[in-house]
Symmetry: C2
Subunit: 237 residues, 2 copies
DNA sequence: CGGCGAATTGACGGACGTCAACTGCTGTGG
DNA sequence: CCACAGCAGTTGACGTCCGTCAATTCGCCG
């Protein structure tokens, strides 16, 4: 139930918490608890009231939206990042379902405590506003990506961004199932397969979860990455 | 240059400012100025540094994104609403171009002053966080709308929401050119025309900018409006 | 070893974008 | 006051992209 001090440090290092007064941080963390969840667990369903701020400390999770029996992945979260912050701030129902993709360690912090801490510690409230600003801008990028680019272009840009975040080597490893990637990129799994085949002409080679980019310049000319869409891939709320 | 007191009241009434201490509000407003812009003016270009928080006091404006010589409208703003808040909070380049659609009165508040006020007035910082939360959730709705619905469904839901916000009468008036609506809904003007013809079978009649909904129940069954996508149409940042 | 689900492939259809032509409105200048 | 230029909107024809359905293969876990 209580956290290992190494985990506490990692959470404390989050931009969200690093500016908060020590008292504020303690009041948030002592009321919280760390829990392990198996893969595929729904932490929170769309439409549910939100009682906790979540922090993904280890593992992998996704945020998804539903309508008319269809589902789409809106974001994939990596450690260490917070999520559902907006709903916590407004004390209102969640718009997205949060689900673990892998076995994950998740820190849950009382929403009530978060709202109280904001009122009492201006520095923390500012940090929350900054975090939300980053999340907002991440979604602006998502919308532009969706509305302005075709499926293969979205995939190409995803691969280039992922390559960069994995150190820039020629070959990268997809962090989750292709079906999740397809949903994130706004297409069907079948279509993702075809998009990968399209990119073969641009020097992209796929072997299971491993993807190699043999001619980065060529792929780049197709993808036309843009700092106002792709740079600085943000976490989420 | 200075504001009419009736305009000050309207700005003060915004959720963003209503919780702030009187001193905070004064410090923001006295450094700001109100300006009139003709239709079609670019207030701020994508990629530019942001020096001001904008408040649309009167008129109509839009936020748009660009990539590869294509453009899309991300939000249409009505009075009274603030925009570009996230970039102001982070003191960073804008991700969207802001443009007037009609002749508009726009209040410009020093970004520096906003950031200072947040640090000094926790209640204001909380209000900023709440505003950003609302904007974030508005974009989540936008993404779900885009990824989960087809073009005619998006139009149908837009019409129902607009009908509601215009008082619930059978006929509503489009607040701007159809080409802007098409871009907002993520389609071409040609396709918007066809989407309107599709909806004729569901009791939708179009006469220039006037749209009548003769069989709301039928249209509703097509649109399947959802409180987690459509309700509570939010302003923007 | 057997079964289930992920991934791929092919065939097909529908939705949407593009190009072009035409209409109607509006504002402007002769 | 009217003629005309320019743009929004519509319509049709056509092509492409993408989703759907079905069959098959592969790998993993029971």
């Amino acid at each position: 139930m209580s956290m290992r001090s190494v985990d506490i440090e990692r959470v404390r290092a989050l931009a969200l918490f690093s500016g908060a007064a020590p008292d504020t941080f303690d009041s948030l963390i002592t009321g919280g608890f760390l829990q392990k969840f198996p893969a595929g667990t729904a932490l929170l369903m769309e439409g549910d009231p939100v009682d906790f701020l979540y922090v993904l400390v280890d593992g992998l999770a996704e945020l998804q939206g539903t309508w008319n029996a269809k589902e789409t992945t809106i974001a994939v979260l990596r450690p260490v990042s917070s999520f559902i912050l907006a709903a916590v701030v407004l004390d209102i129902d969640a718009l997205m379902t949060a689900r673990t993709i892998e076995r994950s360690d998740i820190l849950m912090i009382s929403g009530e405590a978060v709202r109280r801490a904001m009122k009492e510690d201006a520095a923390f409230a500012v940090a929350v506003a900054e975090e939300l600003s980053g999340c907002y801008r991440g979604l602006v990028r998502t919308v532009k990506n969706q509305k302005l680019r075709g499926a293969s272009e979205r995939l190409a840009n995803y691969l280039l961004a992922e390559q960069l975040s994995q150190g820039g080597g020629a070959t990268l490893v997809l962090p989750h199932e292709k079906r999740v990637l397809a949903s994130l990129l706004g297409m069907t799994p079948e279509n993702l397969s075809r998009a990968f085949s399209n990119l073969a002409d641009y020097g992209v080679e796929v072997n299971g979860p491993e993807v190699s980019i043999h001619r980065p310049a060529v792929l780049d000319r197709l993808a036309k990455p843009d700092r106002l869409i792709d740079s600085h891939l943000r976490p989420s709320t």
